[in-house]
């Protein structure tokens, strides 16, 4: 049969070749398939049919279903057209904890001047409604945002009032350590259906080590308990960060999340911001984290095989990209990147940043990703000179070292991270720790699908549907 090639990349696992097209559709084939395709040598008839059906090859002069290919690509990139959905409000740098890897440059709780002014909140909420997204999430961060309940109340009430006209779907998230869930905060959460996102790094000895406080674990778990009682179990989620100490305890950390009744865990690596940069051996840490991730993940598979539903959130995001035709809203793995397109940060000092990580750089006097002030116009912030400069380097389709990467459709572009670790927004892939980590995890998940499909696919489907 006469055929032509559509764009795709490929990678090899043992005796298999895994082909990945622009839609993220993946096809497992015997090693040597790509060479045979290119040379128009005979290939297995059923494999040939699969290659045509799944947009690797096409017959005729143009693909007969090109419009469908386009429609599917549009679905995969649908996070783009919608407008910025995640609006992070950094209410304060004040905090009541002292985490060893603090990424947010927190200040002691007494420092009142490190909080957002009412005027800034006012302007920021109005900017949020300039986004054309039907869905708007107001995420309150810090420091510890629960130290500023008045600001939360003011911001939400203003948003609700504006929304009487705008009629968007509003969601509120409070990122809190759960230590300070006062009656006032809980009442706000109840009234406005605020979702609580808290931080728990694992069992007591790890969590307290990371927090630099002996009492933290008890206070946080007590706070989680109270929040669940008051708000309902499904309105409280937790995130963990893998410290250089915790990286040695994958099983213990997973088990702690199971024990506390969570049905998922997000295995997150440290990122190189704030105090976390004092950990300077990134290569070693990255290798340790990859091992940590795989060990924890195998344990999670065992938990599922034993009949308990328990997800790993990072894998869920990646698997949604690998196995389904749908998009994800996860801002760290997008191309074009999540900055501006999906997320914007209004900082406590009235400045606007491209992302959470951008404002962390600013705490070290690097204002590369500062877009302006909340009083600036939406157009100047989102389409200004800086935004245009970012746009040149925010698509991995156009970045050397990414464009020909076999797992590129599952990954994202991250100019902020490139800049902060390599001093250059464009970035260099071959020695990038982020690239190494993402590629290792994506290829690990694909290798599970290739080698152990019968075992893992039912579990993955249960996570995704």
């Amino acid at each position: 049969m006469k055929y032509r090639l559509l764009p795709f990349n490929f990678t090899r696992f043992k005796e298999k070749e895994v082909l990945v097209n622009e839609l993220g559709d993946l096809l497992v084939s015997p090693r040597g398939t790509v060479e045979r395709i290119i040379n128009h040598e005979d290939i297995d008839a059923e494999l040939y049919k699969s290659l045509v059906a799944n947009y690797f090859l096409y017959e005729g002069d143009i693909p007969g279903t090109l419009d469908i290919y386009a429609s599917r690509l549009k679905t995969k990139k649908s996070f783009l057209g919608a407008g910025t959905a995640l609006h992070i409000f950094v209410l304060t740098l004040r905090c009541n904890q002292n985490c060893i890897y603090c990424q947010a440059s927190s200040r002691a709780a007494e420092n009142k001047h490190c909080s957002m002014s009412i005027e800034s909140m006012d302007a920021a909420v109005k900017l949020m409604f300039k986004s054309k997204s039907e869905y708007l999430t107001m995420e309150f961060q810090g420091g510890e945002p629960s130290l500023e309940p008045g600001l939360i109340r003011y911001g939400i009430e203003l948003a609700e009032q504006i929304n009487l006209q705008e009629k968007r779907h509003l969601t509120y998230v409070l990122c809190t350590n759960c230590v300070n869930l006062t009656d006032e905060v809980l009442e706000l959460c109840k009234r406005y259906n605020i979702v609580i996102s808290t931080s728990l790094d694992g069992p007591k000895f790890i969590h307290n080590h990371n927090r630099g406080q002996d009492s933290s674990y008890d206070r946080v778990t007590k706070g989680i308990e109270i929040a669940r009682e008051e708000l309902g179990k499904d309105r409280v989620s937790a995130l963990m960060t893998t410290s250089t100490f915790g990286v040695h305890y994958p099983i213990e950390i997973v088990n702690e999340y199971v024990r506390l009744g969570f049905n998922s865990i997000f295995l997150r690596a440290l990122n190189p911001y704030g105090l976390a940069t004092q950990n300077d051996n990134w290569d070693e840490y990255t290798d340790q984290f990859i091992t940590f991730y795989k060990t924890a993940f195998e344990h999670i598979l065992d938990i599922n095989k034993a009949g308990k539903f328990f997800m790993e959130e990072y894998a869920v995001i990646l698997l949604r990209k690998i196995l389904t035709p749908f998009t994800t809203g996860f801002v760290d793995l997008q191309s074009p990147a999540g900055i501006l397109n999906s997320v914007i940060v209004y900082n406590y000092d009235g400045n606007v940043y491209a992302s959470d990580e951008s404002r962390m750089l600013a705490e070290f006097n690097d204002y590369t990703f500062k877009l302006g002030k909340v009083t600036d116009s939406y157009e100047d912030l989102f389409f200004g000179e800086k935004a245009r400069a970012f746009a040149k380097v925010w698509s991995n389709e156009c970045l050397a070292g990414c464009s020909d990467c076999p797992v590129r459709p599952y990954c994202g572009a991250d100019p902020v991270r490139n800049y902060s670790t390599q001093g250059d927004m464009y970035g260099i892939r071959y020695n990038s720790a982020l690239c190494k980590k993402n590629k290792a995890i994506i290829e690990y998940l694909i290798s599970l699908l290739v080698d152990r499909e019968d075992e893992v696919l039912p579990i993955f489907k249960s996570w995704l549907s």
């Binding site: 049969m1 839609l23 559709d25 059923e46 049919k49 699969s50 045509v52 059906a53 799944n54 017959e59 007969g64 279903t65 419009d67 469908i68 429609s71 599917r72 389904t324 035709p325 749908f326 696919l457 039912p458 489907k461 249960s462 995704l464 549907s465």
Partner: protein
Amino acid sequence: MRFEWNIESNDNALFVTAQCNNRCIMCCQPPLHQDDIDDLLEKNLKAIDNAPQGIKVVGITGGEPTLLGDKLFILIEKIRSKLPETAIQLLSNGRRFSDSQYAKRMKEVGGDNLFVGIPLHSDYVGDHNLVAGVNGAYDETMLGLYNLNAAGVEIELRVVINSINAYRLPLMSEFIYKNLPFVSWVAYMGMEHTGYAIANEKQIWIEPEEYKDSLGEAVKRLADWGMDVAIFNIPLCLLREDARRFSKHSISDWKVRYADCCNACSLKCECCGLFGTSKKEFNGIKAL
């Protein structure tokens, strides 16, 4: 021929033309070249005038109903105004809907209580066209499915199992999930041993017992993704045990029959039975 409505029946179907623009090699009602559209339209419009209220579903079938062009909308408008509560089931090869305007029109006229049943014969263009008997059929049907979805029309995707697609069914499930996740449900159908299916028996006939595992796996894959699945026209004794829960009573009342051994079967009353119109029985029928 005067149309008889039967309020108890699941098979009140209006036959709108014997013409078709596909030449499916297993067609159970081979198409005819005759200018029958206007005569049948007139009869069908009259039949709708005489229809009793309370009919749950009215089918529109052929041939290929969309060959009526805009006249099909006259019929559907009539059903909508006379029988506002009745669901309309339009059986089509979907090709005409590759014109997005036609798809939009169908939604405007048919409203929310209309669905279109469209067969997809393979995930591979060459096999689909081979079964449909027309080059280019696959591209038009696929685009038609997309246009109908964009217009907001409900779709039943039909897979009639034959020897050409039987062993690709699990792969086709993955294709359907990735490319057609919007269909309301996927219906797998056993072939009737009648019409072209007899003439082309060597090329396309396959016994359900031969594709039992392939079908079981295909159905499981779609169901695992949370998609609605149904199996029609295949008796329970020829389905893998885990696939039996997807079986539906589907054979038109007047066509259904059971084999002698079915009387001893404990699942007879849950089983769809056999086609009375088939010229031979499936192999391997047994009491469960």
